[in-house]
């Protein structure tokens, strides 16, 4: 018998079992572990059981009163995905999202959630690609979904390695980096931890459902730093600069001096968007707020200084 058939059949047998089945019962009933050596057969069964568990098949180990050996079974309610009652447009949207982002990595998950639902509309054209390595957070997924505390070694910004214990609330992808966001237990505060600074595996500690995620939590704000207060900036823009400003959502608010336009861009980040304001500065002057104007002037002075003389 092929290993894949044996694994599928073991799953079916444990799903259909009315009570936990011991290894000896399974062996007698299925004849899958025919090795004459009991220990050899047992090892093979243990390998199958662990493989199935690693694939997400929830095999329970139970020892009922009066049983000499532990028994095994699968609780159908733990195994089965309950019906999601997805509407056709909802399946289509999910399939489209998968197609845009990571079709191969999402196909099986999508087949599971839509197995008993309608098929996606075949005429929807993706028209774009937004690749994202969705497997990057696989290692952190279980603790987030099950709400378990987690421990990991972490390299801090100054290069030291420290152990951390965290109640993980979620994962954030921001500016090409992955973060686990949660409550740092020792510091009792919300923190974001970059996945690429975790220097060892995540180790789940304690029970599932050990904490509640606070209401109204803004995960993205936790990793964006204190500088993220949005600023509306007024700009004096030459005709050549208008398109750059429009591309950032700039709005014309009236004429400026010398044939320029005055435009306003909302929601800029004083720190992050300084680079953009510097890049367009030959065509676009910042009128206010004064601190942003000063930032640009300061940056331009430094560029002038750095390039004033012929280098030695």
């Amino acid at each position: 018998m092929h290993a894949a058939e044996r694994l599928v059949n073991l799953t079916i047998a444990l799903l259909e079992a009315r009570r936990p089945m011991t290894f000896d019962e399974l062996r007698r009933r299925t004849r899958y572990y025919p090795q004459p050596e009991h220990a050899t057969a047992r090892r093979m069964f243990e390998r199958d059981k662990e493989l199935l568990r690693s694939l997400g098949v929830p095999i329970r180990t139970e020892q009922a009163y009066g049983m000499e050996e532990p028994g095994y079974r699968i609780d159908r309610r733990e195994y089965e995905l309950r019906d999601l009652h997805l509407e056709p447009d909802e399946v289509t949207a999910l399939a489209l999202a998968a197609e845009l982002v990571a079709p191969a990595e999402l196909a099986l998950a999508l087949a599971k959630v839509s197995a008993r639902g309608p098929d996606p509309d075949p005429d929807v054209v993706p028209a774009a690609r937004l690749p994202l390595d969705v497997t990057a957070v696989d290692g952190a997924a279980a603790v987030v979904v099950e709400r378990r505390r987690v421990r990991f070694p972490y390299r801090t910004a100054d290069g030291r390695e420290e152990p951390r214990e965290v109640e993980p609330y979620g994962v954030v992808r921001r500016r090409r980096a992955w973060y686990l966001v949660g409550r740092d237990v020792a510091r009792d505060g919300l923190r974001g931890f970059r996945l690429d600074r975790m220097t060892g595996p995540l180790e789940a500690v304690g029970e599932a459902g050990a904490f509640e995620v606070p209401d109204g939590l803004d995960l993205a704000a936790v990793v964006s730093g204190p500088e993220a207060r949005p600023v509306a900036v007024d700009l004096e823009v030459t005709p050549e600069g208008v398109r750059d400003v429009v591309a950032r959502g700039g709005r014309d608010v009236g004429p400026g001096a010398h044939g320029t336009r005055v435009m306003r861009v909302e929601g800029l980040d004083r720190v992050r968007d300084l680079a953009w304001l510097l890049a367009i500065s030959p065509e676009v002057a910042v009128l206010g707020p004064p601190e942003v104007r000063d930032d640009v002037a300061h940056g331009l002075h430094r560029v002038v200084e750095a390039h004033a003389e012929v280098p030695s």
Partner: protein
């Protein structure tokens, strides 16, 4: 492609096929993003699966007639397995990433995600993808691609000092290294081109249908420096090393230097590169050639002059 049968896929194929009697092998392979050969192998194995017992047990009935498949006698696997936590988060990540791209379909995606979270007990907002910031331009362009309409964009290419209007048959949008690109046929150039959308503005979707079909293979959006492009050497201070990420051109060489590190790039578009150096606000210094140094110096002075001439007393407020 691996020939090892995928056990989870076999367990998923059964409920999927019970709902879709007569599905074709090609359809199944497409839905599971694998090969027809892999599906045939797994269906062959499934035909030997079932509830084990004496006398052969109750086997699943897999009938393949020509190209169509019918599965029966499989009530014990009538529902699919739950998605694993990793699969669940992958789906939610994809939804978060795609959300802003879907236009009118975004509402349906939000509903689907809510059902998924409820069924699997995932906390609300467990995943957030902040990038990409797909603006209106991306959404309008995607609609134009779907509708097959020619567009006119004003675009400031790497070599252009101002934006130029271009008539394009839009083919596909692509997010690459944190930036949006459009693959299109450029009617002015009479050839396929890739446009970086943060250099584009003022889109107009025309009534004209596209005439040049999408090629089978589209190049990755990446600037390949020509051998005749001059080489520029830059000194990067600690606050300027991000430039190495921002430049889509791989540096020819990097090295350590007092006060930072050096990098050499081949630069085909001096104006574009000067803007990049301005962005570093003094944390990056062009060392060589002197023409490039002079250009950066001149642009920074122009920026200062414009700033000094403007009436700085004007308003400007924080949103908060």
């Amino acid at each position: 492609m691996s020939r090892v049968p995928d056990v989870v896929r076999m367990l998923t194929l059964v409920p999927w096929l019970l709902e879709r009697p007569g599905a074709s092998i090609a359809e199944i392979a497409a839905a599971f993003a694998t090969t027809e050969e892999a599906i045939r192998t797994e269906l062959d194995h499934l035909d030997y699966c079932g509830l084990p017992g004496l006398g052969g047990g109750d086997l699943i009935d897999v009938r393949i007639l020509g190209d169509t498949v019918v599965v029966g006698m499989a009530d014990e696997l009538r529902r699919p397995m739950r998605t694993t936590p990793a699969e669940t988060l992958r789906l939610l990540l994809a939804a978060s990433q795609a959300e802003r791209m879907l236009g009118p379909a975004a509402g349906a995606l939000t509903r689907a995600v809510a059902k998924l979270r409820a069924a699997l007990g995932v906390p609300e907002d467990a995943v957030v993808v902040v990038e990409p910031e797909a603006g209106d331009l991306v959404e309008e362009l995607r609609a134009a691609v779907v509708a097959g309409r020619r567009v006119r964009i004003s675009y400031r290419g790497r070599g252009d000092t101002t934006a130029v209007d271009r008539d394009l048959d839009p083919w596909r949008l692509e997010l690459h290294d944190g930036a949006w690109y459009l693959h299109a046929h450029d009617h002015g150039a009479g050839a396929a081109r890739i446009f970086r959308l943060d250099r584009a503005a003022a889109l107009r979707v025309t009534e004209q249908p596209v005439t040049v079909p999408v090629p089978a293979k589209l190049e990755a959006p990446r600037y390949v420096p020509g051998p005749e492009d001059p080489e520029v050497e830059v000194l990067l201070g600690p606050g300027g090393t991000w430039l190495l990420d921002a430049v889509t051109v791989a540096p020819e060489a990097t090295g350590a230097a007092p006060g930072g590190r050096t990098a050499r790039f081949r630069v085909g578009a001096p104006e574009w590169f000067a803007r990049l150096i301005l962005m570093a606000g003094g944390h990056a210094e062009v060392r060589d050639p002197s023409g490039m140094r002079t250009l950066v110096h001149r642009r920074a002075l122009a920026g200062l002059e414009r700033l000094e001439r403007s009436s700085g007393a004007a308003s400007g407020t924080s949103d908060a």
